[in-house]
Amino acid sequence: MDAQITIPQSRQDNTFQRLVRTFRVSAWLGWQIEANWADPLVFAIYALIKPLASAAIIVVMYGIITQGDFGQPIFAYIFIGNAFYIYVGQVMSGVSWAVIDDREHYRMLKYVYIAPIHIPTYLLGRGVAKFVFASISVFVTLLAGVLFLQIPLDLLQVDWLLFIVSLAIGVNMLALMGLMLGSIVLLLVNHSFGMGEAVAGALYLFSGAIFPLEVLPEWIRWVGFIMPVTYWLELIRRALLPDIAAGFPTLASLSNGQLLGIMLGLTVFFAVAAFLTFNYCDREARERGYIDRTTNY
């Protein structure tokens, strides 16, 4: 006798609703994983100490060499780049880390796979918690810079539209880069743990996050110009500190519109590349039986 299960019409949803639900639940899961291991106060301290310490290393280095002359434009350039770079480490690495976390640590990736959800949307949703933490860290770092380190951030001078549009495009681009990395991690046996860190490290060095690209040797400077984060950080600096950004020649020949166009183009490119990469890696990982693998590497 054949049995037939009928799902009531009220419980059926269309593709868009399914994607939204996947994203929402995944974001909530990511939040719980990141935040519920400690009480809120301990967690808040944990979430702030690491980024503040990273910023403080650079502040101390700068302070030693310049005898504490924090009013120089180069300091604001470095400080803003370093602060917003937190998004790169958190969002990009966060999305790719979800694969490692679910497969190696919690060993539940196989259960995620058999659930009726869209996996790339699930992975992108896992990056939401990282985005929230990164936003808090960036805000606190900037606040410390303005209050204690003479960062000339004037809220009335900020180009808010440019800032919000740049931030939105940049974060989406980083999440898509993270999805690409996460897809590759699906196929990696060794070193998957360092993948996000390696890419973030390379971007940190070559994207002009903490020094103008002119400081790099000329033969390697071109790498910075093919990195999307370079353009993103330039836009953020122009939006927040237009006078200071104008003093550095790296991308001075490009207008804000051109930079936004480049960013948008790169985001579309990464969107296509991320989904193609995911489709390929996902198929390979299923064929090779990697979805439920635990390497303990």
Binding site: I57, M61, Y62, I74, G194, A198, I210
Partner: protein
């Protein structure tokens, strides 16, 4: 029919040394068999070192600071090794189910920890050496050693104290669950800052530097910088002799502390049934 097999039993010092070797062996042989480790473990720190070097170049720092960064980058190998492969190792072993086997086996847990330390030191030492060579070559760092025997003494004492610290904290991690990963993660950048991995620790003011001296690398790096860089002594926190004396004290404190803590925590973990728990 009785089946008998002759089993050679070891005890005392021989058993202890075999335990040390047995635990160190997988780390040493693992590194030699899987050589891609080396590439990976060198590229990442070199990227970090390069970023800090270029910050110094962007603000016109004297060349000695480039050498400080290269040395700091090399020493991160030891700190990361102590953090992730010593302190939190018993937590990982618990997660994988090996910890109960260690406890059941008729050997000394101190032998296990020492073996982890020896294997880790071998691994991190190679990584640090390569970072130093590659970093010095890329950025043209020059060295001028004041006293080789003092340099050797400082390095060895730093390692004994550092791995002693790792052995001591590993027993604390026995009691931890999910928070272990987060705590180890938290002890990276703040320690890089407090211990002066990329700048002379003296610049953090006396009391901050004195407080950070509980981490053996703070004293070790400060002393080594004074011994290997021309004019390094002018940027030192304390004199090398005093720093050697402090490192001797830290070595004794942490190794003895490791033994006491391990005995206490092992009893506590057994009593509370935490040796086999796995709270992911």
């Amino acid at each position: 029919m009785t089946l008998t097999a002759k089993v050679t039993k070891h005890s005392g010092l021989r058993l202890f040394l075999m335990t040390v070797f047995g635990r160190a062996y997988p780390r040493m042989v693992g590194m030699l068999r899987e050589r891609s480790w080396m590439l990976w473990e060198i590229i990442l720190p070199i990227l970090g070192v390069s970023a800090y070097v270029f910050i110094y170049r962007a603000i016109g720092a004297p060349e000695i600071y480039i050498g400080f960064v290269v040395m700091g980058g090399a020493m991160t190998a030891f700190w990361l090794n102590v953090l992730w492969s010593m302190s939190s190792q018993l937590y990982w072993e618990k997660e994988m189910g090996n910890l109960s086997l260690y406890i059941m086996a008729p050997n000394s847990m101190m032998g296990i920890l020492l073996g982890m330390a020896v294997g880790g030191l071998f691994f991190a030492g190679q990584r640090a050496l390569v970072i130093t060579i590659v970093g010095s070559w890329i950025f043209g760092v020059s060295y001028e050693v004041v006293s080789y025997w003092q340099l050797f003494a400082v390095f060895m004492l730093t390692m004994v104290a550092l791995y002693g610290l790792g052995m001591m904290t590993s027993s604390l991690f026995l009691l931890l669950s999910r928070e272990a990963w987060h705590l180890a993660n938290l002890a990276q950048e703040p320690i890089y800052l407090a211990s002066g991995f990329y700048f002379p620790v003296k610049n953090l003011t006396f009391w901050v530097a004195a407080g950070a001296s509980i981490i053996p690398l703070t004293m070790g790096m400060d002393a080594m910088r004074q011994l290997v860089f021309p004019d390094g002594s002018s940027l030192g926190f304390l004199s090398v002799d005093i720093e050697i004396a402090i490192l001797v004290g830290l070595s004794v404190l942490f190794v003895v502390g490791a033994k006491l803590m391990l005995d206490y925590m092992e009893r506590l973990a057994i009593r509370e049934g935490r040796l086999t728990e796995s709270k992911r």
